[in-house]
């Protein structure tokens, strides 16, 4: 058997670096590729994913492993497909999840295509998740062995053809094992801190970013309570997210939370913490990793945010492919635009975008 070639999406971080080293040890011909993502002019040095510093670290790792290393300039597609989506999402009242979008359109889009054009058989990343093939040859996505690091949530959009060409070398490892391996492989990355920020915000609050990038400033409007009583003025709906408490600028006895955004009437609806707890919502653009379910009703668990717990739910698949989710217990801050990801046990069935929160 001739040796297989794998392109590793590198970031200079410990995970992708160890992924590359492990694949090399397993006998693959490894090529490192780092993407230049979009950064606002003048803020290139604070981008979480592709600062000149991380680029140099990634190159350093490639040099230590003595593997080829290339950069892939995706600044334009990243801006057009991810940053624009982010800005338009807020403009249209949702809280977008650009990381999911980036995985769909950039990593398993531009990067995978580039890997294939380099003659690679596979694309590997440092994500924590597992791919399992069943007896029929169907690929399934499973949670990582290290549950605290599991990233299946942001991978729920992967298709059969994506998974057939994907390797997640870290799926069976814990983070501490990965750090230890980085030391063993003598990779100069083991000490780097982690961050959950959006890469192109570079640690900045998203509101300041929006201020600079919205075509026109969104109109201010009324803040009302759940009974429609006027409480004050908001600065434009894009600057608020569901569940937000701080920065509302209204005073009252008990704290107010953003419960909903009424785009039609430009109203920001606030209420008690309890008012943000919801049970039912719809999910659209649903991807079923192992194929569409044969039944229209499913009992499963769902994650409504990257860090939310697994919530027990009943799911009804509508004729148009969208789903209605009913949680067993109401949960806080279910936010349109975020992903709802479905699980049965360790297996990630797929997921979609939260569309409307009903009750």
């Amino acid at each position: 058997m001739s040796e297989k070639t794998v392109v590793v999406g590198m970031s200079g971080g410990v995970d992708s670096s160890v992924a590359a080293a492990l694949l090399q040890r397993q006998g693959y011909r490894v090529i490192g590729v780092m993407m230049s993502l979009w950064s606002e002019q003048g803020r290139e040095k604070v981008n979480r994913c592709c600062t000149p510093d991380s680029m140099r670290l990634a190159k350093r790792v490639a040099s230590i492993l003595d593997i080829p290393f290339y950069t892939l300039d995706v600044r334009e597609p990243f801006y057009n497909q991810i940053v624009s989506y982010f800005i338009q999402g807020y403009q249209s009242g949702i809280t977008p999840n650009p990381c999911v979008q980036c995985n769909r359109q950039i990593r398993w889009g531009a990067l995978l295509n580039f890997a294939l054009s380099l003659g690679a058989d596979y694309l590997a990343t440092g994500h924590y998740a597992r791919i399992v093939t069943d007896e029929l040859g169907v690929f399934h996505l499973y949670r990582a062995k290290d549950h605290s690091k599991d990233q299946s949530y942001v991978l729920h959009m992967l298709t059969q053809s994506d998974l057939a060409r994907t390797i997640f070398p870290l799926g069976d490892l814990t983070k501490s094992e990965v750090r230890q391996l980085a030391n063993e492989f003598q990779l100069p990355v083991a000490q780097r801190a982690e961050s959950q920020d959006l890469c192109f915000l570079g640690g900045e609050d998203y509101r300041s970013f929006l201020m600079r990038h919205l075509d026109e400033l969104p109109p201010s409007g009324a803040i009302v309570d759940t009974h429609g009583r006027y409480l004050g003025q908001h600065q434009g709906l894009p600057f608020y997210t569901i569940g937000q408490r701080k920065g509302l600028g209204i005073s009252g006895g008990k704290p107010f939370y953003v419960v909903a955004k009424d785009l039609e009437n430009n109203l920001l609806v606030v209420g008690s913490k309890e008012d943000t707890r919801k049970k039912t919502f719809t999910v659209t653009q649903v991807n079923w990793i192992g194929g569409n379910p044969s039944v229209s009703t499913l009992e499963l668990t769902v994650k409504v945010r990257y860090l939310s717990p697994f919530l027990a739910a009943k799911l009804r698949i509508q004729e148009d492919g969208s789903c209605q989710v009913e949680l067993s217990e109401p949960y806080w801050d279910i936010t349109p635009g975020q992903a709802a990801v479905f699980y049965q046990g360790e297996r990630c069935l797929g997921g979609g975008t939260i569309q409307i929160v009903l009750s």
């Binding site: 510093d53 140099r56 190159k59 350093r60 490639a62 040099s63 230590i64 003595d66 080829p68 290393f69 290339y70």
Partner: protein, 386 residues
Amino acid sequence: MMNRNNRIYLDYAATTPLADEVVEAMLPYFQKEFGNPSSLHRFGQRAEGALEEARMTIAAHLNCSDEEIVFTSGGTESDNLALRGCAFARREQVGANHLLITAVEHHAVSHTAEQLARHFGFEVEILEVDSQGLVSPEIVQNHIRPNTALVSVIYANNEIGSINPISEIGKICRERGVPFHTDAVQATAYLSLDVEALNVDLLSLGAHKFYGPKGIGALYVRKGIPLLPCQTGGGQEWGLRSGTPNIPYIVGMSTALKFVQKNQANWTTSLAHLRDWLIEQVLKRIPQSRLTGHPTQRLPNLASFVFKGVHSQKLIALLDAEGFACSSGSACKTGNPSPSEVLLAMGIEPELALSSLRVTLGRDTKLEHLESFVDCLIEKVVQLRG
């Protein structure tokens, strides 16, 4: 290369022979790994890997981050880049127009400062040194000004080996917000180059003083210190020094620095021991001889003297004819009959300053070399005094 044809090399401050491992490390980069580190292909990637590894080795030795290392063509270029680059950038940024240097700087610093004064309108102030060639922190404190663009003080002087209190001077500069440069070219083989402990912002290195090749050096530039590039072009070396990096020599320099790390502790004791023996013998056995520089706060491998009534150019020729290679002071001044400015600054009369002799030891120097050298020196001094 000492002792070849019975020659004994006692001029390690002028230059040093390459260590075997240095030559060996360099060789692949002339032919096999010849790529340009800026190229995107594998040839370039391999060269870039070597470049960055060398940079990391040097950064680790200086206790700085690798982005703070700029490769140059040697100590002289490093000094030029530090002075010119910082002077112009500071003038542009804050209008600073005053340069503070000392009377014991290498010409790479003093002549650069002189040009900045003569042709570019900077005011250059030259700090006095004491009779042992040392710069005091107090004098820096008293002369530093709000409009000082840069202070430059040599770490260890190349003619007399006196070691300046760099850390204390650096502290003063830091307090006053003025960038501080030191020429560490002679110091590298023997003294700590920890830029944090030294409180320096710019530090010059030259490889050939520590068993590396000629034609390669580096400048440490602390993050945030403004520097205008002196050589513009393709933007290599963080845009501070354009030109395709000299990979084989850079690899040679980092290998030489590793060689220093391995041997420094040993050299520092053994050479200081030989140096002290030499100084004691010379002062004891040659009348009207005098040690120049500080008796103890000096480089472990450097002994420097003046001999009343002896012309040093003649003395060096006579010694060389007997197989002993040493120098009058700075190797860069060979053929220059005027007395050393460094010696004059220490208060040595011009005539006596013309009788200087610098003996510098290195890794191959043995006691028996020095024994025969001292005998020969005595004979030649007597002969020249006639």
